[in-house]
């Protein structure tokens, strides 16, 4: 793990091990930014969900993790990129308990509740980018 890295760090997501790697990286950043333990856990869990989505539904991709600041407070931003099939029905995808796979159907909707900012950019056939930010309180 880098001690205190400048700029974003990019991790490819192509297997289960990578989900763990992304989780560890996000955790390192969350600790660096001194998020509270609860916020650390929330962000790491959200990252875990999103990384797994990238892997399972997006067919792999990469994650970008960086420290951000809006002038008043610091935070951690993580984005998950894939060039998979995209999400045709966003409302459905963000509904609790709905899954196109075999999961619990809480990953995407749950991740949204775990973070402060959630942005989803998707286009059918082109891919999906999910960006989340957790601010230090």
């Amino acid at each position: 793990m880098p001690p205190r890295s400048e700029g974003p760090e990019v991790v490819p997501i192509s297997g289960d091990d990578d989900v763990v790697r992304v989780r560890q990286l996000v955790r390192t950043y969350a600790q660096q930014t001194k998020l509270s333990l609860v916020d650390q856990t929330k962000l790491v869990t959200a990252a875990s969900e999103l990384a797994r989505n990238t892997l399972i539904y997006g067919g792999g991709g990469f994650a970008r993790v960086e420290e951000v600041s809006d002038g008043r407070r610091a935070g951690v931003r993580a984005s998950f990129h894939d060039e998979g099939p995209g999400i045709p029905d966003l409302t459905l995808a963000l509904a609790d308990g709905w899954s196109s796979g075999s999961g619990l159907g809480l990953g995407l909707s749950g991740a949204r509740r775990l973070v402060d900012e959630f942005e989803l950019d998707t286009e059918v056939g082109r891919g999906t980018v999910v960006t989340v930010v957790k601010w230090k309180r």
Binding site: T41, K42, R52, L104, L106
Partner: protein, 283 residues
Amino acid sequence: MTADAGRAQSLTDLMRTEAEPLIGKWVDAVAALLRGRQTRSELERDFREFYAALLPLVGNDGRDVSGPEFGDIRSLLDEYSRARVRAGFTPSETASSLFSLKRVIFDLTENSDDPQFYRQQRAFSGLLDALGLLTFESYAQARDEIIREQSEQLLELTTPVVKIWEGVLAVPLVGTLDSARTQVVMEKLLEALVETGSEHAIIDITGVFAVDTQVAQHLLKTVVAARLMGAECIVSGIRPQIAQTIVALGIEFGDIVTKASLADALRHALRREGVDVVRSRAV
């Protein structure tokens, strides 16, 4: 010696006639490099074998070392690299063993101005480079194997099922809970339930850093499987931050009994078993 070298017909002949002193110098060079971490006699035994396998290959420039004529040296180097990994040598140290032979040969022939000789030497140098790279590959491969072995061992090690009371089993989970781990945990737990005839199992997740939907799903499946066998599962070790995360995620644990600590879970299980734990009065 070097004057003779100039007149020698080929590098092969020279290496054959000068074998003993060459091997000696080679061993000296590498022994100095490794600073006593391997004895001269061990090195000499290995290098004698390498030397014998190398001799018929002199003249080959090592551009393609996949042919059958390289079979001997390849397996020797493979074995050598693997032994080096286990003994804790670095990949550079391993490859340097081969590269050291270059200098020994160059020293022997430095005064020769025969262009024929120079070409042979250049080819030999290329050959050693290629073989040196082979040791790198073997080294990396051996290391990957060790890592794989270790992660398999870790999987077994970190999922013990322990009997903590008559009729009560405990499974302390540590680290990451993925599908493979869950499978091992579930199998072990179900087997232990049958073996011990236990009716209560405590799954302790104190050591699990994050509970995401996948982990939750795995836990739920394990609990349901145990329930089908007539055992009740208690999930313990749910720390405050995990509890808040689970709520935010929207995961429902339904009617599964959850406890904050293993002690609470044990107390619950004992009560269900009809066991009362009372402090003995001081006599």
